[in-house]
Amino acid sequence: MALPGARARGWAAATKMAQTRRHAEGAKGSLSPAPPSPRAALYVHWPYCEKRCSYCNFNKYVPRGVEEAAMRSCLVTEAQTLLGLSGVRRVDSVFFGGGTPSLASPNTVAAVLEAVDQAAHLPADSEVTLEANPTSAPGSRLAAFGAAGINRLSIGLQSLDDKELQLLGRTHSASDALQTLAEARRLFPGRVSVDLMLGLPAQKSGPWLRQLQELLGYCDDHISLYQLTLERGTALFTQVQRGTLPAPDPEVAAEMYQEGRALLREAGFRQYEVSNFARNGALSTHNWTYWQCGQYLGVGPGAHGRFVPQGAGGHTREARIQTLEPDNWMKEVTLFGHGTRKHVPLGELELLEEVLAMGLRTDVGITHQHWQRFASQLSLWDVFGSSQEVKALLVQGLLLLDHRGLRCSWEGLAVLDSLLLTLLPRLQEAWLQRAPSPGQGG
């Protein structure tokens, strides 16, 4: 295929200086898609893994051999096609997820970034994240990714206990994880995130908190705490079903979560989302886009996107899914330039429901201004101000509705899914009862 190297290195080189800059103020200002702005975040899915993890039900494949050149070419083509379709003029962030995208060659990453910069503008200070698994010899590869244009790493560390790592089916050890973390911090200072899982079968609160404490001694400015969700079809799910492993105790997990977030708060981290913690302003702007219902394009097998196909004359945001299976996806991209399997227009109410459900995951929640961008005729007060059920949640101290907007309290954030079961029907009701908008009368 083409030779992306030179040009990609060009983009990467241009961004060298910008890399060290903090991308701090993601929560404010930088993302204000006031009139449907031709900008978006971009997600790239690398579908391959070395080994299947026991808890993972993501769209991933463990292949005998990857035809990387073909894959690279298809990712590039699809990125170009979708950017064209969306009419997006500026890409604010790129996220390489998977699968295990750190198994892809840095060339591929560079090629995609170059294509994005060509098709739309990819500013030098854009956040470009790569999900990376810890390995025993991380140094040179991580440096190569840096040279390819990656400026932020998200490390799937998961645990600092070798037994737990084994249970999770991870290929790395705790010492691999710490070594990779140290190397990453050296290469991407202030822009490294680590994942830590909680609520594993038989896991106890005390030892887990000590792991978190230990991790605080090594980590950078971003941590994600994920409670294990037992997903149907995973090895872990089967083992728990068969009784060979104890089912995780939700009470214990709740305790870990509460204690963990308290510990991180003391350590100066801001819990800016249900599972995400940052200090020194090191929030992930890419993920912030999801929770603020900004536009995003999904490139690669099974990737999801949400954008207005303005380039094709569309005016309605669509939820889009690419073909799941890599070989089929590649065939489609080769034939049609993209592998979009499904695109469903999102209704106004549907979009508002997403604004609500996603926005409340963040600490700032939904500001009045933010809500206004999606619902000009219906304020947060109109929707939630007079509901008795919502009032009960406010009184209970789980939810706040004030001059700033609607958001969860510290306690409320932990039970958001229960809150939404009251809020979503309320929104539907208010939507149906709303005064007909002036344009539509008659």
Partner: protein
């Protein structure tokens, strides 16, 4: 049919405990007399229902006329099969009143069982000749001599009157037929009197209407006669009469002394109720004694699992009740379970059989709520008496329970229970009975090592799990049977179930206030001890003080344990029922955003409590670009489901939670 003079007619029944071989013996008798073909696979010909064959019980009585030549004379032997279970004791008694004698079948291995006793006394009270038949003598462990002794002891029948047979192999079955002729008297009837016929069973045929099985005490009936039901006073014209062999075989006439069937354009089995007397139009006779309308003893709510199934279930229930007038049906509805019925049954087995037939024959699956018994209240409030237009009311639904201040007394149905058990379980059985508020009436050894106990039980104490408990504590050896014994005063109270202080209407329960361990006082213990000591005086080889001491020791241990578990206050029936409901609710109520207090209360007094803790964490951990669609779908589905939940105060209660609490326990 007229060729049979009354002297050559015998009417008899076979009575037996479950599985002692009644139906097999009937098959052999039918074969021997050429009524049915021997070569066919005659397996329990008289048991027509699927449940009957499966469970080895006879639910619906069947009848057959047998022709038998003996010593140069031809006899007409009418075998009137009876339902094999106490729930149907009224039907048994009606069947028996059409007979002059019974074959009492006892298993040579198992010996006399509770039901054998109950059936024997029914026959005895009806002054019938009893022919003891010891069956299954071919079995390896058969001990016919010992069973013979039991029969002597319990029924006072000389051992040499027992006929030892193997119905399975046909051994000695001929002797049974001869005994029927020799020992059972012919019916005392008068052909010249006007018609007097007893309806002892009725079935419904969708083409021919009601088929009434009748025994003629006086007169003659033939096609074209106009007959009247003594109960309904309705007039019907007879379209067909005949004998049963066991299928209907039309005949010209039926004569006094004979047993057969009659079809007379009746459209509903309630027009030919069991026990009713039929006579000729304009020739009224004194009705035969003993008629009672079926009296339900156990009530349960029945609801379709899905409300869309309501109409199908309705038609299935109608079809079943058209053949079984003893089931009472009232429409009912529950906030939690939707529209349904409150059904009354003769007993637990009757209920189970009905439910099984719904499932097997009509493919209907239902929610059956925990059975309750018909309590009564004697009203003192003039206003209520006026409202109900009677002083004594029957409370079928707990929601209608009148307050104590408006009532002189409450009454509960009681039964006389018979238990036969190997004596090593006697102590445990007595403990169980006492825990069930039973009062002992009688206790005897029926042989070397088997005891027969008689107790008066409050019906509600045996209605759910007594039989299972008895079977499990006696390793399956104890047998149990009961008969109606009227009503007794009872201290009843209404128990409310509250969720955070709000009453859950569908869970209102009537409970007995009396402490269950009142029998567990020192006095009660003394009583058991002296009973056991008295037993040791019985002439049995292996009995010694040792056994009794051991049993007594066991008992005192258990009492001590009971005391330890409930120090101070005696354990209270209401308390344990309340606790059980609270626990079941706790297991089935989903967590909510606040703590839920589940309480059982009598008046303002809380007697049991469980707590469902508030959710501490309920939020999806990972929610990024690829997760949104799935997450929104799930949330909306949950929100949609939430709308359908029944709200008690601000607590959402899923239908499943009600089902788990209300459903019969045995389905666990």
């Amino acid at each position: 049919m007229s060729r049979f003079s009354v002297e050559n007619i015998r009417n008899f029944s076979i009575i037996a405990h479950v599985d002692h071989g009644k139906s097999t013996l009937a098959d052999r008798l039918l074969e021997l007399t050429g009524t049915i073909d021997k070569t066919k696979n005659n397996k329990q010909v008289l048991d027509k229902l699927q449940v009957e064959r499966e469970r080895g019980i006879t639910v619906k009585a069947q009848t057959a006329s047998l022709f038998y030549n003996w010593e140069g004379k031809q006899y007409l032997l009418n075998l009137i099969d009876t339902p094999g279970h106490v729930d149907f004791s009224y039907e048994v008694s009606r069947s028996l009143s059409a007979c002059q004698g019974v074959l009492l079948v006892v298993d040579a291995n198992e010996g006399i069982q509770a039901q054998t006793v109950a059936n024997f006394f029914l026959a005895f009270e009806a002054q019938l000749s009893v022919i003891p038949v010891i069956n299954k003598i071919d079995l390896k462990n058969a001990d016919p001599e010992s069973v013979e002794k039991q029969i002597e002891k319990v029924f006072d029948i000389p051992g040499d009157e027992c006929i030892k047979i193997s119905a399975k192999l046909g051994t000695n079955v001929e002797r049974v037929l001869q005994a029927v002729i020799e020992r059972i008297p012919p019916p005392k009837v008068h052909r010249i009197n006007p018609l007097r016929a007893l309806v002892f069973d009725s079935t419904f045929d969708q083409y021919r209407g009601v088929i009434a099985n009748v025994a003629l005490f006086d007169g003659v009936v033939s096609k074209g006669d106009k007959i009247v039901s003594a109960h309904t006073k309705k007039i019907h014209e007879v379209n067909e009469v005949g004998v049963l062999n066991p299928n209907e075989q039309p005949a010209h006439k039926l004569y006094a002394g004979q047993v057969g069937y009659l079809i007379a354009g009746m459209k509903d089995v309630t027009e030919a109720q069991i026990g009713d007397t039929l006579y000729l139009h304009k020739q009224p006779v004194e009705p035969l004694p003993g008629f009672k309308s079926a009296k339900p003893m156990v009530f349960a709510g029945m609801y379709p699992i899905d409300q869309s199934e309501y109409n199908n279930l309705k038609s299935a229930i109608e079809k079943l009740t058209i053949n079984d007038s003893s089931v009472t049906v009232h429409r009912d509805s529950s906030l939690a379970l939707g529209a349904g019925w409150r059904l009354g049954f003769l007993g637990l087995l009757h209920m189970e059989v009905f439910n099984q037939r719904l499932e097997q024959e009509y493919n209907a699956s239902v929610i059956l709520t925990t059975p309750t018994v018909p309590y009564k209240a004697v009203l003192s409030s003039a206003k209520l008496i006026k409202d109900y237009r009677e002083k004594e009311i029957t409370i079928i639904n707990p929601a209608q329970f009148p307050e104590k201040s408006k009532v002189t007394e409450y009454l509960e149905p009681v039964v006389l229970g018979t238990i036969i058990t190997p004596d090593e379980y006697t102590g445990k059985v007595m403990m169980l009975c006492q825990a069930r508020r039973a009062v002992q009436k009688n206790m005897i050894f029926i042989d070397q090592n088997r005891v027969m106990l008689k107790y008066i039980f409050p019906l509600n104490e045996i209605v759910v799990d007594f039989y299972d408990s008895l079977k499990s504590l006696s390793s399956g050896y104890a047998s149990f049977d009961y008969e109606d014994a009227g009503y007794q005063t009872a201290e009843l109270v209404k128990m409310d179930i509250l969720l955070n202080g709000n009453i859950v209407e569908e869970l209102v329960t009537i409970v007995h206030k009396e402490s269950a361990s009142r029998g567990g006082t020192e006095r009660g213990r003394q009583r058991i001890r002296s009973r056991l000591q008295a037993l040791s005086c019985q002439p049995r080889a292996q009995c010694g003080a040792e056994t009794c001491e051991l049993q007594d020791h066991d008992l005192s241990q258990s009492w001590k344990l009971n005391r330890l578990r409930h120090p101070g206050a005696p354990r209270d029936k209401a308390h344990s029922v309340g606790k059980a409901i609270c626990e079941r609710l706790k297991d089935s109520l989903p967590r909510q955003l606040f703590e839920i207090a589940i309480q059982a209360a009598i008046g303002s007094k809380i007697i049991a409590r469980e707590t469902v803790k508030a959710y501490r964490k309920n939020v999806l951990a990972k929610c990024y670009g690829g997760d949104i669609t799935r997450k929104m779908k799930l949330l909306k589905r949950q929100a949609e489901g939430k709308k359908k939940l029944r709200k008690v105060g601000n607590i959402e209660v899923p239908r499943d939670a009600f089902i788990k609490v209300l459903k019969t326990q045995s389905d666990k």
